[in-house]
């Protein structure tokens, strides 16, 4: 102290200006800089991941927002329906299945086989009759009218039209072809080797098969070697002269092993000969190949029809008609035909070349309309992806959340007000506070079990009903709202309370007139966090049966319903690629729902904040 007072100014200053001091200062700045840099990179990484996630969901989901409908010339009249449209009951009972079936068959009269007819029917959605019936019932003037209603096509046809079944490439004709019809099969001869690519692709496929045979052969050789080793071991032990019972057992084993070895050797022989055979076929360029379903397929567009190649050599091929060609077709100039090569082999896709040809034909005839996927946004669940909609789940989520909000917001805020403003601070309130904090950390499925045990089993409320789901989610949301509300109430300056109490406001008046409005933004933030949690919750709803397969859009709080995350969970489980798209689209709908909810909360917040 005396030094300071003594005024040794230079020495004092040097504490802050010396080289060491400068170094310390530099170190502090460096630490700050490092921290900033770390913070920025953390934000950058999270933004990058978020974008990655969003872009993957969006790119997957966007195709599901549109859909291809078929506007076939349905004959909606008294003859086909058995009623003229005046009798609603008869309209309901009319045979729409037959109508749809006959209409699509009418477009392709050349399809006569049972198998072909069934395949043709599959171009349209199996929900098409239901969809058509609904339209007719909604608008009976369609009967006998000129308007053409539209029906959904099948999910795979839709995927094909969106280019998600297989890429394909066209090759223009490079030779003169001559055709000869033999029963149903065309023999094609070209004056140039134009089918080389197809043959090569087929041989490449054979090479893959040969390689896998050789692999298997190698495996068998290894097991043969092991068996030989075993035999040697058994023989050695027998030579050592073991006891009678052991000897007997060893002899048995030896015998069995030798038999196994024989079988393995036979198998090795077979594999080797097969592989050799394939190798020989691959080596022989001149030898033709039959094009099987696991080889890249090729379609020949000629003479107004489509032929599918069934076997090829370099310059000849056989083919069958997928769309009928001109009856007198016998030759085609290079400019009259072209080949279409499918990249994904037929065995690896759920949409055959035949169906592709038919779908193309429907497009060509102008029956296909690509439009907004109204089915997805207006219907409930369905086992058919093209008939499945997210609307049932959206309504289910909305109903559930209304119940959740109606229960948890008033209860939570009231509880927070009581605990924060009225309750004495003693051991009991501390205990309650600790327990509320713990409740916020309880896994949500536990709340689901509680709902199952109490609401469903004890009170015997409805299964799968939004109001029960809402009650369970309200339990889950309550602690979040209470904690956030208490924090918000605590953040209101005590001077406001004193001011109100000081002029004779009762405690409740103080809270409702002054404290609560000031705490409202914070309370709303907590509520929206809780509600967002509730919106995304799956596990507790599974327990109370909201995972049910609900076809109808729920109309009341007690109707069976499902919610968006559960719907997403269920669709994610389905193998159909169209459901994968709908899963992503439903995730987008869920995010949209969340954003809408948050937007409302932000508006409300702003409204309360404007009151200074």
């Amino acid at each position: 102290m005396t030094d300071l007072a003594g005024g040794n100014v230079q020495e004092i200053n040097s504490i802050h200006t010396s080289d060491e001091a400068r170094a310390r200062l530099a170190k502090r700045y460096r630490a700050e800089g490092n921290f900033k840099w770390l913070g920025r990179s953390a934000i950058g990484v999270s933004v990058a991941f978020l974008l990655l996630l969003l872009s993957s969901v969006v790119s997957q989901g966007i195709p599901a927002f549109t859909f291809n409908f078929a506007q076939l010339p349905f004959q909606l009249n008294a003859e086909t329906l058995g009623t003229d449209g005046s009798d609603a009951n008869a309209l309901k009972k009319a045979d729409y299945d037959g109508l749809v079936r006959n209409t699509i068959r009418g477009e392709f009269p050349h399809v006569t086989s049972r198998k072909g007819k069934r395949l043709l029917g599959g171009i349209l959605s199996s929900g098409a009759p239901v969809y058509l019936r609904q339209q007719v019932l909604d608008d009976p003037s369609l009967v006998g009218g000129t308007k053409t209603p539209e029906v959904p096509i099948s999910d795979f046809a839709d995927l094909y039209l969106k280019g998600q079944i297989t890429p394909s490439s066209y090759v223009d004709g490079g030779a003169n072809l001559t055709f000869a019809l033999d029963d149903k099969s065309y023999s094609i001869v070209a004056d140039q080797p134009v089918f080389t690519d197809q043959l090569k692709a087929a041989k490449a496929r054979l090479a893959v098969q040969a390689a896998s045979l050789r692999d298997e052969q190698a495996g068998q050789l290894r097991s043969a070697a092991k068996l030989e080793g075993d035999i040697v071991a058994y023989k050695e032990r027998l030579a050592a002269g073991p006891e009678a019972d052991v000897k007997e057992r060893l002899e048995k084993s030896l015998e069995k092993t030798e038999e196994d070895l024989k079988l393995v050797r036979v198998r090795i022989e077979q594999l080797a000969s097969k592989a050799d055979e394939l190798d020989a076929r691959i080596a022989n360029d001149g030898l033709g190949e039959t094009l099987t379903a696991d080889m890249p397929s090729a379609l020949l567009y000629v003479g107004g029809g489509v032929l599918k190649l069934t076997s090829v050599t370099n310059s000849t091929a056989t083919a069958e008609a997928y769309m009928p060609v001109a009856e007198d077709l016998s030759a085609a100039a290079p400019s009259d035909w072209r080949l279409r090569n499918m990249e994904v082999v037929e065995a690896n896709r759920k949409f055959s070349d035949q169906e592709i040809v038919w779908t193309d034909e429907l497009v060509e005839r102008g029956y296909i309309r690509n439009g907004f996927n109204s089915i997805f946004f207006s219907r409930g669940a369905s086992r058919e992806p093209e008939m499945a909609g997210v609307w049932g789940a959206v309504v289910g989520s909305a109903l559930t959340l209304i119940v959740t909000l109606a229960l948890s917001f008033p209860l939570g805020v009231a509880a927070a007000i009581y605990l924060e403003e009225f309750a004495p601070k003693n051991r009991w309130t501390t205990l309650i506070e600790v327990n509320i904090n713990n409740l916020a950390a309880v896994p949500s499925i536990v709340f689901g079990l509680l709902g199952l045990a109490v609401f469903l089993n004890y009170f015997e409320l409805d299964r799968s009903a939004p109001y029960v789901g809402g009650m369970v989610l309200a339990l889950m949301t309550l602690p979040t709202i209470i904690i956030a509300s208490r924090a918000a109430l605590r953040a209101v300056p005590p001077s406001i309370r004193e001011a109100a109490l000081g002029i004779g406001a009762s405690r409740l008046q103080t809270v409702t007139h002054h404290v609560l409005p000031l705490a409202m933004p914070g309370i709303l933030t907590g509520t929206i966090i809780g509600m967002a949690q509730a919106l995304g919750e799956t596990a507790p709803l599974l327990m109370i049966g909201m995972v049910a397969f609900v076809v109808d859009v729920p109309a009341a709080f007690s109707d069976p319903a499902t919610v968006l995350p559960v719907q997403i969970f269920m669709w994610a489980d389905f193998p159909e690629p169209a459901f994968q798209q709908r899963t992503s689209a439903a995730i987008m709908v869920l995010l949209g729902f969340l954003i809408a909810m948050n937007a409302i909360a932000v508006v409300l917040r702003k409204k309360f904040e404007r009151r200074w």
Partner: protein, 268 residues
């Protein structure tokens, strides 16, 4: 308290005095800790009483006992008796809301509600149902703001937020708010501590005018302020009431050594 009655000097009172509020053996405990020890103090109608003393001496605690603001503190217990017009305010029969309507309070830090100037003043009359028409309410708001000396400054912007005023204006708004409920006693807890000298002077003048209608108890750290505004002064030290008496006497001729030390700046 005999000393208190002895000390009262008739010439200090312009009118025949009547005791508005009185404390008898007032002790206050915060949990285990005792903050006030057996305080006896009479508050005479239409007088300004200032409570002075060093920080932590219990003067604010005593003030807050007078309208039971200490009730909001869980661990606070009050012993002894405080009367308003002869009635024990800690009696079960007394409604605390009514008491606070009769004993208004202005706080150390201006704390207007985050509402409009009008709403700030109108809030008290409204919750106490003092008016039935909008005109009457307007009248009360106008008079209160006039009495608080704020009317001229805010008459054109009554719908503006009260928090947008300057510190001194805010404090006068709080005074207007307190007097709008027509209290009988007005408690002021260091009302000028957050204000500049000019705002302080305005409020001191105001206190002098308000004395005609209200009985005022003011806690202050400023000896000059106590001397200027009050007729009676009570000196607290370490939770005990050391001395009370007419302001003039306390500042010119204190009976106790501690009072002498404090007003001359030797303790505190």
């Amino acid at each position: 308290m005999s000393v208190a009655t002895d000390l009262k000097q008739p010439e200090a009172q312009p009118s025949p005095e009547s005791v508005k509020m009185a404390g008898r053996n007032v002790s206050v405990f915060y949990g285990e800790k005792q903050a006030l020890f057996d305080v006896d103090l009479d508050i005479v109608e239409n007088q300004v009483v200032s409570l002075i003393g060093p920080s932590g001496c219990g003067k604010s605690t005593f003030l807050r006992c007078l309208n039971r603001m200490n009730d909001t503190i869980d661990i606070c217990r009050v012993g002894g008796e405080i009367t308003l017009d002869g009635q024990d305010i800690y009696d079960k029969a007394i409604d605390v809301v009514e008491l606070r309507a009769r004993v208004g309070m202005v706080f150390q830090k201006p704390n207007p509600f985050p509402k409009s100037i009008y709403e700030n003043v109108a809030y008290g009359p409204r919750i106490h149902g003092m008016t039935s028409t909008k005109d009457e309410l307007d009248e009360i708001v106008t008079t209160s703001l006039r009495r608080a000396g704020l009317w001229e400054e805010v008459k054109d912007r009554l719908d503006q937020p009260g928090t947008g005023l300057s510190g001194g204006q805010q404090q006068r708004l709080c005074i207007a708010r307190a007097i709008a409920t027509k209290p009988e006693v007005l408690l002021m807890d260091e009302p000028c501590s957050a204000l500049d000298p000019i705002a302080t002077a305005i409020i001191e003048e105001l206190i002098d005018e308000l004395r005609e209608r209200f009985t005022i108890v003011i806690v202050t750290h400023s000896m000059q302020q106590a001397a200027r505004v009050s007729q009676k002064t009570a000196f607290f030290h370490l939770g005990k009431l050391i001395e009370e008496g007419p302001t003039e006497q306390i500042f010119t001729n204190p009976h106790h050594q501690k009072t002498q030390d404090y007003i001359t700046g030797r303790i505190g």
